[in-house]
Symmetry: C2
Subunit: 514 residues, 2 copies
Amino acid sequence: MHSRAILHLRSYTTKTAVPLTATRFPSIKRNPAFKTLDSNDIAAFKKILPDETSVVDGTDPDALLPFNQDWMRKFRGQSQLVLKPKTSHQVSQLLKYCNDHRIGVVPQGGNTGLVGGSVPVHDEVVLSTQAMSRIRAFDQESGILTCEAGCILESLDHMLAEKGYMMPLDLGAKGSCHIGGNLATNAGGLRLLRYGSLHGTVLSMEVVLADGTIVELGKPLRKDNTGYDLKQLFIGSEGTLGIITAASILTPLKPKAVNVAVLGVSSYESVQKLFQEARGHLSEILSAFEFFDASCMALVQKHIATSRLPFDTAAQFYVLIETSGSNKDHDDEKLTTFLDSVMEKGWVVDGTVAQDATQVAAFWSIRESITEACAKEGPNYKYDLSVPLPKLYGLVTDMRQHLSQVGVMTDSMSGKPFVKQVVGFGHVGDGNLHLNVIASEWSKDIERAIEPKVYDLVQTAHGSVSAEHGIGLSKTIYLSHSKTKDAIAMMRSLKQTFDPKGILNPYKYFPNKE
Amino acid sequence: MHSRAILHLRSYTTKTAVPLTATRFPSIKRNPAFKTLDSNDIAAFKKILPDETSVVDGTDPDALLPFNQDWMRKFRGQSQLVLKPKTSHQVSQLLKYCNDHRIGVVPQGGNTGLVGGSVPVHDEVVLSTQAMSRIRAFDQESGILTCEAGCILESLDHMLAEKGYMMPLDLGAKGSCHIGGNLATNAGGLRLLRYGSLHGTVLSMEVVLADGTIVELGKPLRKDNTGYDLKQLFIGSEGTLGIITAASILTPLKPKAVNVAVLGVSSYESVQKLFQEARGHLSEILSAFEFFDASCMALVQKHIATSRLPFDTAAQFYVLIETSGSNKDHDDEKLTTFLDSVMEKGWVVDGTVAQDATQVAAFWSIRESITEACAKEGPNYKYDLSVPLPKLYGLVTDMRQHLSQVGVMTDSMSGKPFVKQVVGFGHVGDGNLHLNVIASEWSKDIERAIEPKVYDLVQTAHGSVSAEHGIGLSKTIYLSHSKTKDAIAMMRSLKQTFDPKGILNPYKYFPNKE
């Protein structure tokens, strides 16, 4: 989960035009089967997209850069062409052309991903959903929203708020990310604990397949048991099976009352106990249970001027609890009973409850500033891991110990690149740990000290190497830590079935064949 | 949704050994590519399943009947062999043998389906999950249950209740249906409004593919974004892509307080207004919103001795509202506020709130007795439709009008088969209507009067021809009312990819090719 400040981050990172891909990833050979663009292709694309703002080509390299590079500057492709269709029909014509001529295509939404999934590797064409941002329908009675892929998550949330509804997902990149990208990456985020995953809330989808076929998958209905639930395949497929152009989503009613508390606790065991107690006391109104360690809090205090610790006592761990309900008095009473119980049991060092909407936002901003604060401390090796709750924070301490043992946690006096800190935070309610290794600089030695060790630890703990960020480019070689050989073979069969020429988001998602 | 009395129904229906398939469905030609079983095959199966209780063969036709016939006696196959493996490894060996020899296989759970999906058509082998009912794991902290396909839904719910949890789904057939069948048919039922569909609550699955490959799809984690979410394909695939042998399911905490109210209202418009009001007032504690018309209530009063109307005033429609929460006082207050509001607005004719657990069960039994009551009145042509809420009950009135116009709602004096009643009930919260046409006897003329008219009406209303019952054998020809040509082509590609010899649940799910 990265920060709400992503737009800001992107603006400063794109100024530094240093390609970093080469320093962190082994070079990936261009697939010679893909056609190199020529003037005929450009002409054909311009015929499909007659509006001149719809095509960005190599005549303006600066204009291409934001599409070629991710916001962390970790990945940089060499695309010479960005296409911004306005309709599904245009997407269909573009893909048909690319498929017929075997031209690689990278679907791109807000380009806020963390695993290099949304930027090209070589000269693939970027197909951006920026110009597809219409609301097609909203049903006030059922809360079913039908919108195009390029709608920005936060804009949708604002639009819904006026109608008494909200999006079932929320994440730090909400101001930039596109709903199409959220769907293609099965975005998790801050509301998953309460509203569940997109696999449950997406009702239907419009998808364009590699050959240009526009296909309607499902209907905007809560129940529809007519055939395979094909839309599910595209949720989390990262643009490798087709391009999502629109979707219908079941949106929940906006809660009438929201409470947020930040609590300090002295051990990870207490974090777990607090979570169980919260499930019992807060139950149906519990909408978030986030945690971060003392190192995260210290970095936020150091780097983010606007974020202050809301109480005086320092603690080893901090927990942010949110409740959302329909009756403020009832929610307050449940929260008070919960807090009395955990205070009495001695599980909480200190804590405070937001008194108004401004404080609610301020408390959330602490949690949401962590990524930005970590980034200001130095380059971050970021891991997004799913681990059974009892073993979750053990991964952080194990990594600290391991990195000390292999000698990369030396101090800055050595002159060599070193690891400054290993910090952990995330969504306790979902068993999702974000582990950041903050280094003095990008370095192959440090990377080798971390990987594959971190993934081996996850595998031993029966976890997942990617809880919510996906596979993209950076985790392909670790897919087998979370998926069996047979499951990967099934994935390849699906890819072959729906994109036999492999034009969609090439080089990603799948491990290289042995 | 059929009745809790399903076991009883089955016991009396299997006594009357009249094959009814022929009277209601056009004959389906046996696929000559399938091998006819011989003694070598039987010997091979017996070698894989050495326990003699694991194989039921043609030496005892009575023992085969319950596997060949559905509980409504609408569908009857001619299988001569039932296999009851005890382990996934045995399932694997059996499927490998059947695939190698091209022997058709029908996976069967509790055989409680309503569309003929779980019984053979010709001489396919029945692979029953009856002997696979182990709990593999239950995690008290997270509520994640891992169990085998043959576990009975109600048994799981009872087991979980002792641990403070519950299954996220509930349906009338709970006493007989297997969780594997629930998954394979994407069962909806009574708790979907609150806990969402199985697409959101199933975390992982063990599946055996047609060629015998045992594949683990996902892990028992809340979040796992590593590759295509393959398990989703099997949810609702009705045994056509593989056999589900085990699954991990996220189970919710059992609520501490449950309230049930039954209200009478004078119009369908009031049902809708009540639902919107309930969403606002009851919000996070609303766990069911069911409705049934006066005809349903009259049939329950007539045929089910134990079910009484809980108040005196007759109404055109009845609504059953359930709340589930963690604080009885809060829930009572919310419910009272809601009831005061709707009474004051004049939307409710009469109503009552259950005073204790016995009354809760009694009120639910009215709703759950409807299927049994309808069945006692005569043969039922049953339709399970998803329709946007404003148009939902219009389907019932339109069908009544249509059947009158075409002259099949004559009285019994004519001597010809006739339609006695058209009744409607279902899950308002899910936009799911159960429409039953109750006839004096099974008749091709009546069937032709209803179909395809009912499906045309659904298509016009942008609904689904199967909300939760699935496709099975009885809805294959109407699949195209809910799915586009391209979506059906994608389904066929998937089937071809994972079951190229077509051995799994043949003749079902897909429309015959033109």
